[in-house]
């Protein structure tokens, strides 16, 4: 009976794969017989394939240094002065107003909100061979400082959350442009057959600016990010991934029956590549059921790994991020949480202490874990927010536990690791009070150009024609920051 159903030669891979997973022999063999058709599919001209199967993996412009990105988004805007950028002058004059020469340069609206300079209450120490300073809030991340490339001269455009998030994610503060992750999928396709290529993890709600952060805008909707909140239990993480009223063997046999009909249908309609692609796509869907569930199942991780990340919201999300990256997801974005948790206008000291405490161990664990698996080499890890914070307090309060810092876009800090960036270096600086970029300004367009470069793209050539013009992530801007490349 089995041989009757599968007269086509089997490819070794699919046979092994399917036999391993099959509950019964029949279904698996019938299914894998269909995979013989795959050869036709892959032989089709690339252009045709792309228009029909927009997620098919494709090569970038040049050999990439980074094959995937994990972007740890500290949404709200973390204070650089309390984390990665000590400012002796601010410490020295803490409690005093900004020198008049500096405050005179501020715009009027800004001037009214600026309080006294506020030296960080947290101690900085030098770490590693590179000797980069890190605040006591990140003791574990600090151990990895020789892997970090800290950029201290980030330049934003508009000092508010929504424009900052959109600029960081989509390259424009206001207009509806596709997100970096969508561009990535558009350019590279999906490496994973079984998982979405662009996954956004955000526990407990959505970040400010919501789904626009991972929108595809005018790119086809299939390139949009898939938002998954692993903390909200009971909801399906990927829609329609499984059904629980059928044994795997039965479903396999059922899919085989559908594919039998599909082959007959296709044979009567020669020449239509789409019909092949759909047969292929159903095979993928079938495999996705197992893999998609597996990626989110932390029970599959050894105890010591789970412990290293910690059983916390941040720990679980970072670990899932690694599992996804490992399975070929191109771009995983991990927001700290819904809303804008790092937006510490008041109560900065207790709040940032907590935020760092929550994320320090998981981030350090992620760095170690990626390194141990040899994945850090071609995984670009990015840490940062949509802006930074002022060196000054925001309000008149003297109570150190109530003090906060305002939004600041002129010289904030992000760091990167792995994926072709130079480890153990600091790039750029701000003036002595941290009010403005002093040297080596990095605009978001520059960051995007650099990220695309690391992923194998010339940012000027990754374009999409819409509404009569060729759009690109960096619009007419963007400089590759060669100085930070390894």
């Amino acid at each position: 009976m089995q041989s009757q159903l599968s007269s086509n030669p089997l490819s070794g891979w699919s046979r092994r794969e399917l036999l391993e997973r099959s509950g019964i022999g029949l279904g698996s063999l019938a299914l894998s017989g269909l995979l013989a058709d795959d050869q036709n599919v892959s032989a089709a001209p690339a252009r045709r394939e792309k228009s029909v199967s927009p997620l098919i993996a494709s090569a970038p412009h040049h050999p990439p240094k980074a094959k995937r990105i994990i972007h740890l988004f500290m949404n709200g805007g973390p204070s650089q002065f309390d984390t990665f950028y000590p400012k002796p002058e601010v410490q020295k004059l803490s409690g005093k107003p900004l020198p008049k020469s500096i405050s005179d340069q501020l715009q009027r609206t800004q001037r009214n909100r600026v309080g006294a300079l506020f030296g960080s209450p947290f101690k900085f120490h030098k770490y590693g061979e590179c000797g980069q300073p890190v605040s006591e809030l990140f003791p574990n991340v600090a151990r990895h400082v020789d892997d970090l490339c800290i950029v201290r001269s980030m330049q934003g455009e508009i000092a508010n959350h929504t424009p900052g998030l959109l600029l960081t994610n989509c390259g424009h503060s206001t207009l509806a442009r596709p997100s970096l992750g969508s561009w990535m999928l558009y350019g590279l396709g999906n490496e994973s057959d079984e998982l979405p290529g662009f996954v956004v993890l955000c526990p407990k709600g959505l970040p400010t600016a919501q789904t626009t952060n991972w929108r595809s805008a005018f790119l086809p909707g299939i390139y949009q990010g898939t938002h998954i909140d692993i903390e909200s239990s009971g909801k399906e993480l990927i829609p329609n991934l499984t059904r629980d009223d059928i044994r795997p063997g039965s479903q396999k046999a059922q899919v085989a029956l559908a594919q039998f009909l599909n082959r007959r249908h296709k044979n009567l309609r020669p020449g239509d590549q789409r019909l092949d692609s759909r047969i292929h796509s159903m095979e993928l869907a079938f495999r996705m059921q197992t893999a998609g569930t597996d990626a989110f199942d932390l029970e599959k991780e050894p105890q010591h790994i789970r412990e290293s990340y910690g059983d916390s919201v941040q720990g679980r999300n970072m670990l899932i991020a690694r599992r996804l990256a490992e399975r070929g997801v191109r771009y995983v974005q991990v927001y700290h949480g819904g809303g804008q948790p790092w937006d510490n206008h008041s109560g900065l000291v207790p709040r940032i202490r907590q935020l760092c405490k929550d994320s320090d161990q998981p981030i350090a664990a992620l760095l170690s874990d990626l390194k141990q698996r040899g994945m850090l080499e071609d995984t670009l890890l990015i840490w940062g927010g949509e802006m930074g914070r002022t060196p000054t307090t925001q309000s008149g309060t003297k109570d150190v536990n109530k003090i906060g810092r305002d939004h600041h876009i002129d010289g904030y800090t992000m760091w990167m690791a792995g994926g072709g960036v130079r480890p153990g270096m600091t790039y750029g600086s701000t003036d002595e009070f941290g009010m403005k970029v002093a040297e080596n300004k990095v605009e978001l367009h520059d960051l995007h150009a650099t990220i695309l470069h690391l992923m194998g793209f010339d940012h000027r050539r990754l374009t999409y024609r819409f509404s009569g013009r060729d759009f690109r992530l960096t619009d007419v801007h963007g400089r590759i920051v060669n100085e930070i490349l390894a």
Partner: protein
């Protein structure tokens, strides 16, 4: 960058541009430029301001004299002889905080002195001036208007006489004569007509979005064997008259109109979208208008200005204003909302991309930035009403809920009102909005949106008491107002550009300009949309872009003939649809032919029909239809598409959350309704297959189909297989297919253990689902 390379580039340019090569005016000055100034510019400026780098930031080029004399977006960069008044000098001096060039680092004092000297001496240019080039002309509106004079879509629609076709059957419909002529020119023959079984399925789907019944098929096959043309005419008339016609074609328009039941943002504190509880009356207006065959020009007038052409609150046509009122960005971002209205108007109706002219003159199309702000003035003079304000949104007639629904609605409403009253003015912790407000925005809005007993109101707009006099925003920045412009139509279509009157927004005048029969774009754009919807490929492949950058028509004369015929027949959409589907071109077989594939693999010349994939709406409707679960009730409040308690009405009545588009819709190429959608693509991705494999909605239908009388009356397994094939494919199974299914059934029976207490899918629903998962179910030949 070496000087040598520059020279080579210059020489190359010289060869490429015969008009180039103006002699330098003064050898000494030129030498000064080449020796002292050019190297400076190359080193510090050309990366962003030269043709060689393909960069023209701020609109400024510094590789030719015209570049600095004419300047960029702001103003002239150099005033010869006046260094202190020259922007370029100001920029290099770093005296203005907002204008510092080069941005990386200030030039050395001696370099700045050189530049000052150069300007003082007259800012002479290179020995070989690049002059005008394709690159420097980007955004040159004079040049683009010149191009537009020759561009097909801006020419009046020509009255074309269809050429004679040597083939009799292809000589009867104007469409066929044009298509046949182009096929003949390319040594191709058309394909023969599709088999009756294929054709009836194609017609029923294309005209109603639903499959034919088995009876429909058999009757048509019989009738076609007697008199095929008569049978086709008869069935087309019947299908076009069904109310399902508007429900199907209406969806095409809703894609263009970016229709949704919510705004594009959500409320972070309640985590709910900004609901538009009454947007559905606009959707119904669209469906009804198509079913009534409302002339397209009236259809447009009403959507822009129903309230200004005599309709009053209480008239059904007031719902047409939802076109303007139910767009995105209503609640959060007024600037984006205006941009959206300009975009949906110009791309949706005219096929021009005017929204690109927001920050500067359009780089590639004859759309000066002034035109953008003229249109903006119209829409900025129109006020939206709060989508939850029931008093300002008039009732729409024609909705009579059942008594039970009404009673249930009133009971629920009273309960919510009581909660609102009880909450009073108290506020939630850490939030400055009152609890009662939140209840209104969530519970009440959801009740209004979803409850069948809730009222139907028109989501209207109102002209502001005084129209706004627009000003241009330089570089799109509201903080840099520039010249005032009148509210008026696009220059490229309306050369005189008479200003719209002072006493209204100009919405009506705008609509009249759009549907003016002399407007070369509107009819062409619309007939192309309908053509593409029915044929599976468009005459102009960029349906929302007919501009200089858009695709050329595959059949320009046919497009003009269709457009003229459409207007001549009083903009009748049903006439247009009938003309298309009665053509031999439409009725061809969709099979591949070796000669056709070789000569024209993409079927641009239409040597065969296109095999079309069903939309997600048609797939959903077909699933419900096959299981006999489809509720044909038209109009009314939206229902959930997939979740528990989903509606069994057609998908067009499903709830569309613009803020967070349903993942199933997204997986099936349903457009994100944040902007007007030109056409849908067909992507093939695993989530589509997962939907048919695992969606509870699909599984429900697989069970329901085994409870239909057709299935339960079947006495044997063979008859059961036939019943399922009839219900799902509208054809009997081949013997090989029956055999294969029976083998599956037999195998499954071995696994069904009565002792197994877990819920198990039974065999026949699994069979039905295999059919529903198959390509045959989802493709129209």
């Amino acid at each position: 960058m070496s000087n040598l390379r520059i020279v080579i580039t210059l020489l190359a340019s010289l060869l490429l541009h015969p008009a180039v090569g103006r002699a330098a005016n003064n050898d000494k000055q030129t030498a000064f430029f080449e020796k002292k100034i050019r190297p400076l510019l190359i080193k510090h400026c050309y990366e962003c301001h030269s043709e060689e780098a393909e960069e023209r930031q701020g609109g400024l080029l510094l590789d030719r004299r015209s570049g600095w004399i004419e300047g960029g977006d702001t103003t002239k960069a150099v005033l010869p002889g006046e260094p202190d008044a020259s922007l370029l000098i100001k920029a290099v001096r770093y005296s203005d905080e907002n204008l510092q060039m080069p941005p990386e680092e200030k030039l050395k004092p001696e370099q700045i002195k050189l530049l000052e000297q150069w300007v003082r001496l007259g800012a002479h240019g290179p020995k070989i001036d690049l002059g005008d080039s394709e690159f420097s002309r980007l955004g040159d509106q004079e040049h683009l208007f010149g191009q537009a004079e020759k561009h097909w879509s801006f020419q009046p629609v020509k009255t074309e006489t269809p050429p004679e076709a040597s083939n009799g059957r292809w000589n009867q419909n104007g469409i066929d004569r044009f298509v046949f002529a182009q096929l003949t020119e390319n040594n191709l023959e058309p394909s023969i007509g599709a088999e009756p079984r294929t054709l009836i399925r194609r017609l029923t789907y294309d005209l109603t979005g639903l499959p034919p019944s088995m009876d429909d098929v058999e009757q048509f096959v019989e009738a076609a064997s007697q008199d095929r043309p008569a049978a086709i005419r008869e069935v087309v008339d019947r299908l076009i008259d069904r109310s399902t016609f508007g429900e199907h074609l209406g969806r095409m328009w809703l894609d263009v109109a970016r229709y949704a039941d919510t705004d594009s943002a959500y409320r972070p504190d309640t985590r709910t979208p900004h609901y538009f509880p009454f947007a559905f009356t606009y959707r119904d207006y669209v469906v009804d208008s198509l079913n009534k065959d409302k002339p397209f020009d009236d259809f447009v007038r009403e959507q822009f200005a129903a309230d200004l052409i005599g309709f009053k609150p209480g008239d059904a046509e007031m719902a047409a204003l939802g076109f303007l009122a139910a767009g995105p960005f209503a609640n959060r971002d007024p600037l984006e909302s205006l941009d959206d209205l300009i975009d949906v108007t110009t791309r949706g109706l005219l096929g021009v991309t005017a929204a690109c002219a927001r920050c500067h003159d359009h780089k590639y199309e004859p759309i000066p930035t002034n035109d953008y702000y003229s249109l903006r003035g119209v829409f900025a003079s129109v006020a939206r009403v709060n989508s939850l304000d029931e008093k300002k949104q008039p009732l729409v007639p024609g909705y009579e809920p059942s008594e039970a629904d009404l009673a249930d609605y009133e009971k629920k409403r009273a309960a919510i009102e009581a909660k609102v009253t009880k909450a009073g003015k108290s506020k939630a912790k850490g939030n400055n909005r009152s609890i009662s407000q939140k209840i209104r925005e969530t519970e009440l809005a959801e009740l209004l949106l979803f409850h069948p007993g809730a009222p139907a109101r028109a989501m209207r707009v109102i002209d502001r008491p005084k129209p706004l006099e627009p000003v241009v925003y330089i570089r799109g920045d509201a903080g840099s107002p520039g010249d005032a412009v009148p509210r008026r139509f696009l220059k490229i279509i309306d050369e005189d550009q008479a200003p719209f009157p002072d006493d209204s927004s100009g919405r009506l005048q705008l609509a009249e300009k759009i549907v003016d029969p002399k407007n070369p774009l509107t009819a062409r754009v619309f007939v192309n949309r309908v053509w593409g919807y029915l044929m599976g490929s468009h005459i102009v492949d960029t349906p929302s872009d007919f501009g200089l950058q858009g695709s050329a028509p595959t059949h320009p004369k046919l497009l003009d003939w269709l457009a003229a015929d459409f207007v001549e027949h009083d903009w009748s959409i049903k006439h247009l649809v009938r003309t298309i589907v009665l053509s031999q071109t439409y009725q061809q077989r969709s099979d591949y032919r070796e000669d056709g594939v070789t000569a024209d693999s993409q079927n641009k010349l239409l040597w065969r029909g296109n095999r079309k994939h069903l939309s997600i709406e048609a797939i959903r409707d077909s699933l419900l239809s096959a299981s006999r679960q489809l509720d044909p009730t038209p109009r009314g409040h939206a229902g959930k598409l997939w979740e528990d308690g989903y509606t069994k009405r057609r998908a067009i009545y499903g709830y569309i959350n613009r803020f967070n588009l349903d993942p199933t819709l997204r997986a099936f190429d349903f457009p994100t309704p944040v902007q007007s959608q030109p056409k849908r693509g067909e992507s093939i991705v695993a989530p589509q297959a997962l939907f048919t494999m695992n969606s509870p909605f699909v599984i429900d239908q697989t069970v329901a189909i085994t409870e239909t009388s057709e299935f339960t009356q079947a006495a044997t397994d063979e008859e059961r297989v036939s019943a399922l094939f009839n219900l799902i494919f509208q054809r009997p199974p081949a013997s090989l297919e029956t055999e294969r299914v029976l083998r599956f059934v037999e195998l499954q029976s071995r696994f069904t253990k009565p002792a197994d207490k877990r819920r198990r899918a039974s065999t026949w629903p699994l069979v039905a689902q295999s059919l529903m998962m198959s390509n045959e179910f989802q493709y129209i030949d």
